[in-house]
């Protein structure tokens, strides 16, 4: 049951709390765990000992119990209550005595700063000119506490009070000195981050800058491709085969599964419609043409963009962060030759092969649905396939695949090179790389469709 509550323990001394709490003892506040903690604070203002009042600046106090001192101590020990009010870590108090002496007590440390700040802003300072701050009872102080104390004193000084500090413990004196010596440099506050104006001109210059950079990258890559084609010894075969293995061979299971499922889905969706017209056999055309021309290359491209494109961007970006790219350049090597081309070549080889593989599995999926749902047997399926699905559909699909591969590899690598030594950037650029490559792949596909329909193929 006790675990539901938080406790704060305040120790009272007789005399100060005349009106509301006549006796000294231990006060225990109970809080529901969720309610805000550490907001407890007591302010006692004593003027001339004739009048005193206690403010408890606690909004979510649930219950408060008072115990005589010995019982209170025993309780706190027995239940192991958090000793917020212990000797070492007593919450800060400020007492105004005799209208001129301000007595500070408790621990002026960061955990209590909020309450201390509220306290100091709520206090009505005496109107007399000379104020004495009696700080002998401040038991603990850190930089935060020193700042609050110093700031309050400075504010009082600016209001025309003469403030003197008395009884500061020697171990805090250096801290106060540090704060006061740095105060002028600190106080003009931190400069605000300047946001660049984002007007039309800025936007245009930014985007043209990106375009120029991207074009330069494509140009550089093209030059290197021609170099390598002239001298195949320049090609990094190891890197190429490694990439082929990782981005092609290891993508087989997932590509196959997805293509198979796509075949199943298309056949299923078509089955409903075709059965209504009794045109069951046309499921072959539906599955064959849509898979060969569009679905297989697209599915493979999207998978590769997500699987390998992201890896390319992150790899190259991390190499930039760890200065590996700089090392490559200073060793007289070309990052383009070493990193980009093997990846581009690997994808140009892998993506068409994966597309063929996806074609086969997709058609198998379609054929299975056709035989189970539409009574089109395997033999019928193959027969119809031969006469209705022209070879050009297959070649159009396969022809698009290397273009997709180039788009994916180039965009991802380009984004990788754009990363600038920043962890955030790696994530952002990787995302941009994947999104842009998928976007460009689909745009390219759409353009192809339009062109092919002009040519009637």
């Amino acid at each position: 049951m006790w675990k539901k509550y938080d406790f704060l323990v305040g120790y009272l001394r007789g005399g100060n709390f005349k009106k509301k709490n006549p006796k000294s003892g231990v006060l225990i506040w109970f809080f529901k765990k969720s309610s805000c903690r550490r907001k407890f604070c007591g302010v006692v203002q004593v003027s001339g000992h004739s009048h005193c009042s206690l403010f408890v600046l606690e909004k979510e106090r649930k219950a408060r119990l008072w115990f005589p001192k010995p019982v209170g101590y025993l309780l706190t020990q027995f239940f192991r209550l958090p000793m917020t009010g212990t000797h070492q870590n007593r919450p800060p108090h400020v007492l105004i005595m005799d209208d001129a002496v301000i007595r500070c007590e408790g621990s002026w440390i960061i955990p209590h700063l909020t309450m201390l700040n509220t306290l100091l802003t709520e206090i009505q300072w005496p109107l007399v000119r000379d104020l004495v701050w009696d700080v002998v009872n401040i038991r603990a102080m850190d930089t935060g506490g020193a700042i609050v104390l110093y700031r309050t004193i400075m504010e009082l000084r600016s209001k025309g009070h003469q403030v003197s500090l008395e009884g500061l413990r020697p171990e805090f004196e250096e801290l106060m000195q540090l704060v006061s010596s740095h105060w002028d440099r600190v106080h003009p506050a931190l400069p605000v981050k300047e946001h660049k104006k984002k007007n039309f001109k800025w936007w245009v210059s930014r985007h043209t800058g990106h375009m120029v950079k991207a074009l330069a990258f494509v140009g550089e890559a093209t030059v290197h491709v021609f170099h390598s084609l002239r001298r195949p010894s320049l090609i990094r075969w190891r890197a190429l085969f490694h990439s082929l293995d990782r981005d092609g061979y290891h993508a087989l299971p997932i590509t196959g599964l997805l293509a198979f499922l796509m075949g199943v889905v298309i056949a299923y969706q078509g089955a409903e419609q075709l059965r209504q017209f009794g045109a069951n056999i046309f499921v072959v055309d539906l599955v064959g043409i849509s898979l060969f021309r569009e679905i297989s290359p697209l599915i493979v491209a999207i998978l590769i963009a997500g699987r390998s494109g992201s890896a390319y961007a992150a790899q190259i970006g991390t190499m930039k962060v760890t200065e590996e790219l700089d090392a490559i350049r200073t060793l007289g090597l070309s990052p383009m030759q070493l990193l980009v081309l093997p990846r581009v070549f690997a994808l140009v080889i892998a993506v068409p092969l994966l597309t063929v593989y996806a074609d086969i599995l997709g058609v198998i999926g379609g054929a299975m649905v056709a035989s189970s749902q539409l009574n089109v047997s395997g033999v019928e399926f193959v027969g119809r396939f031969e006469e209705s699905v022209a070879l050009r559909h297959f070649f159009i699909g396969i022809g698009k695949a290397p273009c997709f591969a180039i788009i994916i590899a180039m965009v991802s690598c380009y984004q990788g090179f754009q990363i600038r030594g920043n962890v955030d950037d790696v994530g952002r650029r990787t995302t941009i790389g994947v999104v842009q490559s998928i976007f460009l792949v689909i745009v390219f596909d759409a353009v192809c469709s339009i062109i092919f329909s002009w040519w009637n193929i």
């Binding site: 805000c36 550490r38 070492q88 621990s107 440390i109 960061i110 955990p111 700063l113 909020t114 700040n117 038991r139 603990a140 102080m141 850190d142 930089t143 935060g144 700042i147 609050v148 700031r151 171990e171 805090f172 250096e174 801290l175 540090l178 704060v179 740095h182 440099r185 600190v186 106080h187 003009p188 506050a189 931190l190 400069p191 605000v192 981050k193 300047e194 600038r420 030594g421 920043n422 962890v423 955030d424």
Partner: protein
Amino acid sequence: MASGTIHHANPVIEVSHVCTRFGDAVVHEDVNLTIRPGEIFAIAGGNGSGKSTLLREIIGLHPQTEGTIRLFGQDVSVLGEHGAQNVYRRLGVMFQQGGLFSSLTLAENVAVPLKEHTDVSSELIRDIVAMKIVTVDLPMDSAGKFPSELSGGMRRRAALARAIVMDPELLFLDEPTAGLDPIIAAGFDALVLQLKAVLGLTVVMVTHDLDSLWRIADRVAVLGNGTILGVGTMHELAESSDPIIHEYFHGPRGRSAQSQYEVS
């Protein structure tokens, strides 16, 4: 917390019979250390002698294979998440590379512990952060910059500012002066001394820098061959007969650092 706790006799850190193995490689065999409150304790030793690993084990970032490590009298390895958090609030760590969050500005970096662990108002946080930035001798106009825009020395200082922003009792420095120019490194040493005086810190640092060992370390432990070869003040260690310690402190660099220290 610059409170009266400084002069307690209880050790801040107790490392007893710690062994560390990475697979077959033995890093530590029976390491014992006691670090007292209020001292600047340095862990020295050659490259690969397991200094940084020991530091990571003390902070609780890496579990030791055998033995116990007590921080503020509590065994770090058995603390739950809550207990560990309480311990972490009492210490500050400055990592070798700074460990600054690259997506936050310098000021935001320094403010992270305050924002996460306290309910201090943002206005006050700004004051405290500015005070810490000035304390570590960074110019105020660098406060809005990102870590990638700061030089290595400034990043080190920013990391120090973040480590001390909660006024911890215990400060860990991992190679604080490595890769800094001699002027800045000397400034860093002076800074650590000043912080120790003002905030009453206990400082544990891993360092190779013989100059800073002579200048600021109260006691030094030399690690080698998997154990502590010797613990003591620099003068005591300089007299040591252990061949490795002797080589460490009486190589050409060690001698020049010592003579420089003795002249000053």
